[in-house]
Amino acid sequence: MSTFSTPEFRRRAFLAGLGALSTSALVTACGGTTASTGAGSTTPVDGGNITFLIQGYDTGWVSSKTSISSYEGNLWGQITDKLVYVNEKGELSPWVAESWEELNGAKDFVIHLKSGVTFSDGTPVDAAAVVANLNAWAKGDSTRGVSKVGLFPSSNFVSAEATDATTVKVSFSSPALGFIATLAYHGCILLSPKTLALPVEAQADLSQEIGSGPFVVKSWKQGDSYVLEKRKDYNWGPAALGHTGPARLDTITYKVIKDTSVRTSTVVSGQADVAFNVEPQEIESLKAQGFTVGTPRYLGFVDGFQVNTQAFPTNDIAVRQAIQHGIDRDEILKTVYTSDWNAATTFIQGNVPEAGEFSDSFKFDADKANKILDDAGWTKGADDYRSKDGKTLEFTLTPNPYVPSTKAEDELIAQQLKKVGIKVNLKVVDVAGYAAVQASKPPLFQTSRSFVDVGTVAGVLTSQNKGEDWFGLGTSDQKLNDLSTAIATASDRASREKVADELQQYVLEQGYFIPLNQLVQRLYLISPKIKDVQYNGLAYANFYTAWISQ
């Protein structure tokens, strides 16, 4: 079945390893020869099935949770469409919305829908359906336990109504610069009104999710496998992808394999086509064997820690700043990750237009960190950990299970902070346990949140108009309150950019957010025979245009 006779079988001198433990010679030797990729024509070929190996779909299918989990987002992306498409560089282009207008200072918007778009149950994706979706994203339905989409600009949302079959008018109480961009956010997926009306328990059932995407749910067994098959009458793909007709692949099978090494080895041995979230440190050797490893960067926050200013010890600004300067991000990038990862310049990803260059406010400087702590009265004890008024400078860190290699990353951080006298304990949990860790509001919480427009950042900084209040400040930091309202209600991009710079400078100096590196949350190990896999601005691999070359 596998046509692979590449060197990796010899490299995998596994059992010899058991005996001689001398595989080093074999590993370096194979660096040179790359896999002989088949000549294969470049013109796409229809048909064929692929198997996609993923850790699991544990958080369930209730669509409008506060934020879509990184795993389920893959499947949603194939069975649903969005109004607007965002490419890797963050440029927006029409999709189900043919065109849109931004009126009177971005307070009113008119969206013109493509005609002939239908949900998989045949009902049309008309203005009424879009209005139903918009209301669900903006307000959710607390009576039925359905929450709103986290980063949707709900604070100033007024109404959405269908002026005719293919046009929708949306109005806001104050300028919502990021509204059109948010329509491309992976949380804003178009679902049939019938699905939206379902009670919460029914929504948890995947087969009830009626989307309008290029694939439809064929069959699934909870926790084991999920099979999507192509929708033959689909012809409203986003123009930016260079293809609008039906998908080329017949089916995509998502198979749950919890163990990272098993996923990697299964694809390498040719028994599956795509593996999700492989070990970053293996990328070089996997590429050397001719496999493609997609490491897309999404628009959103960097890999880093939201700091809880109410919890010990991070309630002391000196501690926050000492941590900020005590972490050697360069060593992390070199050790845990590869050249595909970029250093962080601020607490938002580099491809976000408003991202600035503030790396000197978190430059690695152990002496400075030590000095800050000495000045703040944290004296070093015998075990060279610092303490003050009898309490040791210590906190517990939980690696984010949604992001690859955070366990190795946090272990290295613990070592680095030990050098400045801060004791860091680690607690390892899986996806299910991570929600409980977030709920317990730890001093440092490792986040991985995407967004399409920087305006939506305002929704997390403070508790103003039901904000997520990441830093536990409530509204106590007036400067932060002003900055976040300014950014949310900025009338034009230029003035918003200036406010964004000031915000980034302030948040980093106050040590509210401790960036680590630009996040690559989703890694795709793809077998060389699969061509034309494209990535959107939210770093999801899209198999709509993919095809198999023999």
Partner: protein, 317 residues
Amino acid sequence: MTSDYKRFALTRAGQAVVVVLLAYVLTFLVISVLPGDAITNTLRDPQHGLSEEDIQRIVAFYGLDQPVIVQLLLSLGRFLTGELGFSLQSNLPVSRIVGDALPSTLTLATSALVIAVVFAVVIAYGAQYLPGKWAAIVRSIPSFFLSVPNFVIGLVLIEFFAFRLHSFTTTDPNSPVATLFAAITLAIPVSAPLAEVLIASLDHESRQEYALVARSRGLTEATLFAKHLVKPSALPSVAMVALIVGELLGGSVITETIFGRDGIGTVVQKAVTGEDQPVLQAVVSLSAVVFVAVNLVADLASPLLDPRVKLREKVAA
């Protein structure tokens, strides 16, 4: 004879029921010692999106606001009527979760048991009839089997047979070949005690005088083994087979994790990380029921298989 046997069977069955109930109570006490109140803080977790009214319903259902002893009686009462409660994570009925997971673990456990018995018989027979040097090597196999953790066996088998020889794919762990290799991983540590009991009883029986007398009548080694040694040496192993059923259930936790099979083992693991008490309670007490049932059968069968066993003494013991 039969009235004696009936009385013997009834006493043993009575003891079995007592043991199952005590196992349930012990598990409940151990689980409810969980620091903090896992049930309430998993319920309060926003991720679940449970409304306040749902939480009250669950608290009332498990009697969480009452003292431990009341909770115990409540849950024991339900256990007797076969009612296993709801999972805290997926709020699916526990009976359905365990029901879905049971078939895959049962196939795994039974095939592992069969393989373990085959391994044990081959080792025991080899240790008895292979020439000197080889017999010594075969005799040391069980202690080697006992020394390798089953997660290492699993990793080696997957790496060699799945990834290199493609005899099975990890994407379909429930395929016959994949199940075979998972069963082998589970069978190896479990076959060791069985092999040692079989070797010991074979050694003992073959040194008995009746073996000598049978040889003096010209029986070949093979017929001697089949006709005379198999039955008396198998009897002590029947009791050991019943004992290792417990090992099988325990071992399945690791084996299923490595082979990516969804069975009772993975259910236990998810329940542990998610502090899902009702599921843990159900799985542990059901394993106790299976273990006690199998041992009861072995206990009741032994007087039928072995004429030497006197019911009188059995009852008194």
